[in-house]
């Protein structure tokens, strides 16, 4: 325990490749927006946004390399938001 590697920092190249991936996903989402996918357009756009944010949170924001408590925090706030959205959507749909 004395020597656990809490300060694992990714190198410059990791950040660079994540940035390239983010740009690639951006160009995909812009291209896909031009194609009519009907009701899936929104799902695809949000799916790509979710992948992009996962990259930013995990690598740029270091969550992947932080202690467990940070991941618990993150999960807690994510599920809080999710519950608010799900409960509200029930209200919208069954009103």
């Amino acid at each position: 325990m004395e020597n656990h590697t809490k300060s694992h920092h990714p190198g410059y190249s990791t950040y660079f490749f994540v940035w390239l991936a983010l740009l690639a996903f951006t160009s995909i989402t812009v291209t896909v927006a031009g194609i009519s996918l009907g009701k899936y357009t929104m799902l695809v756009a949000l799916g790509i946004a979710a992948i992009k944010s996962a990259l930013v949170i995990n690598i740029f924001m270091h969550i992947k390399f932080e202690e467990k408590i940070f991941k618990v925090f993150l999960a807690l706030s994510f599920f809080t938001l999710l519950i608010i959205f799900i409960l509200t959507s029930f209200d919208i749909i069954y009103r």
Partner: protein, 207 residues
Amino acid sequence: MSSHQEGTVAHVHRDDIGAKMGMWLFLFTEVLLFGGMFLVYAFYRFQHQDQFRVAAMELNTGIGTLNTVILLTSSLTVALAIAAIQKGNRFLSVLMLNITLVFAVMFMVNKYFEWSAKISHGLFPGSKEMLDLPNGQILFYGLYYVMTGLHALHVIIGVVILSFMLIQLMKKKITQDNHVKLENAGLYWHLVDLIWIFLFPLFYLIQ
């Protein structure tokens, strides 16, 4: 429990993990602030799907995409600034932070041109042209101004914070062993990027 930072001097009382934890808690309040707005957006978009599509056609996808690229790149440079100071490379860190600030200003300049084009077309809340539009379109533009406006406010605050960090970095108050301030400022900047990742498809890419 071996969370002592490497290089912590015996008499210095510092809690980097605690500082970062506080920053993350603050970021979650920000997420809930914007989350509430995204909820309003989802509700009205569900109610006025066609009007949202018509109104979104007016937005400039080119500027939106350019600003996305700018923000993503500024996120990279801020991450590189932190990585550089962790490796003890102050010069690179200062350089990257300066580039980040340049990108932030570029983002705001684009925003200025985008908004002033809209306003010169009479598309702003409360204008005569706006009030003639159907309800769904008024709601779209209202949300557009409030959400991208609040985001732009965060960009401005981010510029102030990062400038402050740049000064601290140059005064050697932020060092290889003590850089949690810069890390927290970076977290704030990444959050600004994160919110834009969702704003961009929801406002600029509706078909």
